[in-house]
Symmetry: C2
Subunit: 534 residues, 2 copies
């Protein structure tokens, strides 16, 4: 397989060609009525880095490097600003060393070295952070990115309990490949699935495949093992417990500030053989809310229950823009799902939805692990979802502005929330970009509220697009915060979301978290500035 790109989503094979860039520049120029000069994608030969500010000690040389390629590859995550800077060949603040530990012993060794030397330690899973979670802090004397990609094995499978012990560096596809022979699957598919790792999912409270019931990785963690500068922290494998505050729930979402997650026992699933899905149409975005709410409150717990506004349905699921689309999907390795779908459809119809017959696909034939959910509007949406991150490989060189933001709030606030947030973001797009588009879908739905996901785009000025993006992002987050949402439903906090996170979480919780960090990372070497200031 081709090696990972030092800047793009995916491997070097996924880096765009100049022809692709030219085509994209033409299309974007047409879209916004401007002329875009295509710029060739960066090559590693063009990148010059600051001299490493740390020397790898003899005993760590087997898995630590100061090579330019490795340091460049670990300079950024995958936020809009990260991608634009990488495309610009700006790598002003790279890590000084990259470690690729092959075992927990090596994780311990490199962390000990960082602790002794006062080097910043940056845990690195798949490198997909979109919130500045992987940056070298500006005031760091030296920094070591610790990439767990060589710790990518499923170590143990307990098929009876449907659980597996998995190393934290395993990427989504690596996990699925190793579980498949056991008839099992983790079924955690964030949009970053291909290039994000278990440890990162846990550290950032990743949102996954299931749109209802157990939505976050949190619910699939049976126990977790984390290496801190003061030693290992490991919880007991338990299906449920009431013994004090959950130790796992402090590690989950800790974004690398408490330790490096090395492995976890995860709750896995039987591979689905029964599937049922449908796309329900609603005349307007607003007219779909009640159906989504009633279905999730009925506790049918569909795996998929994603409402797309008319524009989003057109962009991502091949609809004609005249209706909102509720994508419903049920799946199971144990039970036929047709009846569940029919019950959900009855609720959706009562709420004003219409369902074209060819959008109902039921594969309850146990012999055929079928294609249900991969046809029609539902299938179109799926493919677009998985390919979306690759688009930025081209877009980040165009000088245009575009990003997503996601949140959740209770139903009572929702309709007004959407109106206010759209007004604020559209206003910012107009002010900053002159014009722009904004669409929305529900990625997850809870009995007490939806998790909407917004996508926006606008024309920009090359060289100024990061500032423009930041101004729109600020307007979005300010509106999210002011209207009662969370600063993030599953993209994490990192450094980019700090200003709003700091106003959202209880101040005393931040004090408690700061104290907890000090207890396990007394020198504050792990991701300083992420979540809290030391």
């Amino acid at each position: 397989m081709a090696r990972r790109s030092f800047w793009a989503w995916g491997t070097e094979d996924d880096e765009p060609t100049m022809t692709q860039v030219e085509e994209a520049a033409r299309r974007a120029g047409e879209r916004w009525g401007i002329t875009i000069e295509p710029v060739p994608p960066p090559k590693i030969e063009e990148i010059e880095l600051r001299t490493p500010r740390a020397t790898v000690p003899e005993k760590l040389r087997g898995f630590c490097t100061t090579e330019t390629f490795d340091r460049a590859r670990h300079t950024y995550g995958k936020s809009f600003a990260d991608s634009v800077r990488a495309y610009r060949r700006e790598f002003a603040n790279p890590p000084d060393v990259v470690a690729y530990p092959r075992s927990e012993e090596e994780v311990v060794a490199v962390l000990e070295w960082c602790d002794q030397q006062g080097h910043t330690a940056i845990p690195w899973g798949g490198g997909s952070s979109v919130v500045g979670g992987l940056d070298v802090p500006a005031d760091s004397p030296a920094a070591v990115s610790i990439n767990l990609e060589r710790m990518n094995r499923v170590l143990e499978v307990d098929a009876t309990s449907r659980a597996a012990r998995i190393q934290a560096g395993a990427l989504g596809p690596e996990i699925e490949e190793q579980l498949r022979p056991h008839g099992l699957t983790l079924r955690h598919y964030p949009q970053s699935f291909e290039w994000s790792a278990l440890g990162g999912w846990i550290a950032t409270r990743s949102g996954g495949h299931y749109a209802t019931n157990h939505t976050h990785i949190d619910d699939f963690v049976e126990s977790v093992r984390m290496v801190t500068p003061r030693g290992a922290w490991e919880s007991r494998r338990l299906p449920g417990s009431g013994a004090g505050p959950s130790p796992d729930r402090l590690a989950i979402g800790s974004e690398g500030i408490l330790g490096i997650i090395t492995e976890a026992w995860m709750r896995v699933q039987a591979r689905p053989v029964f599937r049922a899905s449908a796309g329900v149409r609603f005349p307007t975005w607003e007219s779909g809310y009640d159906a989504a709410r009633a279905i999730v409150q009925s506790k049918l717990w569909p795996a998929n229950c994603r409402l797309l506004d008319p524009q989003e349905a057109q962009n991502a699921a091949g609809a004609d823009g005249s209706y909102a689309l509720l994508v419903l999907g049920f799946e199971s390795g144990d039970l036929p799902q047709g009846e569940f779908l029919h019950q959900a459809l009855r609720i959706a119809r009562e709420a004003g939805g219409t369902v074209p017959e060819d959008e109902i696909v039921i594969k309850d034939d146990q012999g055929a692990p079928g294609e249900a959910g991969r046809q029609g509007a539902v299938g179109a949406w799926r493919n677009a979802f998985i390919r979306a991150p690759y688009a930025r490989n081209i877009n980040s060189g165009l000088g245009t502005v575009g990003d997503t933001f996601e949140t959740s709030m209770t139903w009572d606030r929702w309709p007004e929330f959407d109106r206010n947030v759209r007004a604020a973001v559209n206003d910012a797009l107009k002010r900053v970009c002159g014009e722009g588009t904004l669409t929305c879908r529900f990625t997850h739905v809870y009995p007490d509220g939806p998790a909407p996901y917004y996508t926006y785009a606008g024309p920009g000025k090359r060289g100024g697009e990061i500032e423009m993006w930041w101004e729109v992002k600020q307007a979005a987050l300010e509106a999210v915060w002011a209207n009662g949402g969370t600063v993030t439903h599953h993209h994490a906090v990192g450094r980019d979301h700090r200003p709003w996170y700091d106003r959202q979480r209880p101040d005393l919780f931040a004090d408690a978290l700061r104290a907890a960090k000090k207890a396990v990372d007394p020198k504050a070497i792990l991701n300083p500035g992420v979540l809290i200031d030391p």
Copy 2:
């Protein structure tokens, strides 16, 4: 209504009469083949307490008292040892003051006073702790029990999001009574339901009504408000979030060591109108495991899925002792449940279960919020469950030994776990009591493991029964710990479970929790010794 008993479960009306005690002594004597001299239940006039070691300041006198009745009532929780000591009229270490704040301002005021004076502050919800969570520490210079029973209102209802803001001192029935006019219900029924409060449920990670899926109170907390010595800690109402480690999950299970929970937004349910239930019989205890496991792994998520061993089925559900009983129940305010039950029954039958036709009760007639689940073996089990805590009012004066313990572990460990734990406890009963009984049921079932609940009883020696109980309890917890279970699934840790909890939780988590406590309770006035040593 009669006032709460100063020693018994319930009100003064629930205190046993001498006739009842005589009858119980006769029956227990017959059961164990010994003679039991009946002892009259305690009266408040017989109780003499140590002089209060603190003087209530003028401004707190409106809601603080040093009356004997109040101090006696707050001396103990409801563990076996607590009840025996109370029955013995031993009240050696009562709190010095009892506060009944009527508002958060008064909670703040009494906590400030404690903080200034160095008085131990003991948050008190319903007083149902069975783990020594309400004790005055032996080395406490003075202690104040802070009883929230006057803060018992549902303050706000958001019917659209199915959520309600509820004061922490509201007892189970008080919550249900206030939600009923809205067509809503919290549906959290721990065995202590009648005499335990929301704040206590949250502080101890109470396990509730639902046997599968969302089992603990944890999952029903939308946001929580807690007063600490350093001020208030309140999270945002959110249906889901990925913003750092969950602040709520640190407050949930904190057992009063971080602060006093004053109110919470809770996720509530539509009142069930559709119900379906059945009792499935299995020839042996062991032959029921696969059915319970397959049903929960199928994700049908029954509200009830409780497997009773043959003896437990006889004691608690009117069975004849020749079969194990799987109590299945489905319920919904939104959808007919008959089909769900039939699917579960199909799985249960495939796993070897038999279902007498008259044990299948389906009330899918929306007009009649029926009696389904309240008939047959299922109904018998329900009534016994709710009445069980009252039995201790009589038993604790007999000199016999009896208690319960509960845990959870993964399925792969389960059958061996049960064998080993039964061997250890039966051995201890024989050694300590000469003989005894031990039965088990699953109270909750997870895809990755069951939560078994053991009940034991044996003859004892009056005056020595606490030591005897403690020896059996130690044997049980040692076996639970050694065989991979949790020290508690929903009874909490308190002080009684500390020796095993300390071996279960990661040491570094304890350090982090200790640091977090210091950040919000710098003088360690709140429940010192619970969960951690200061």
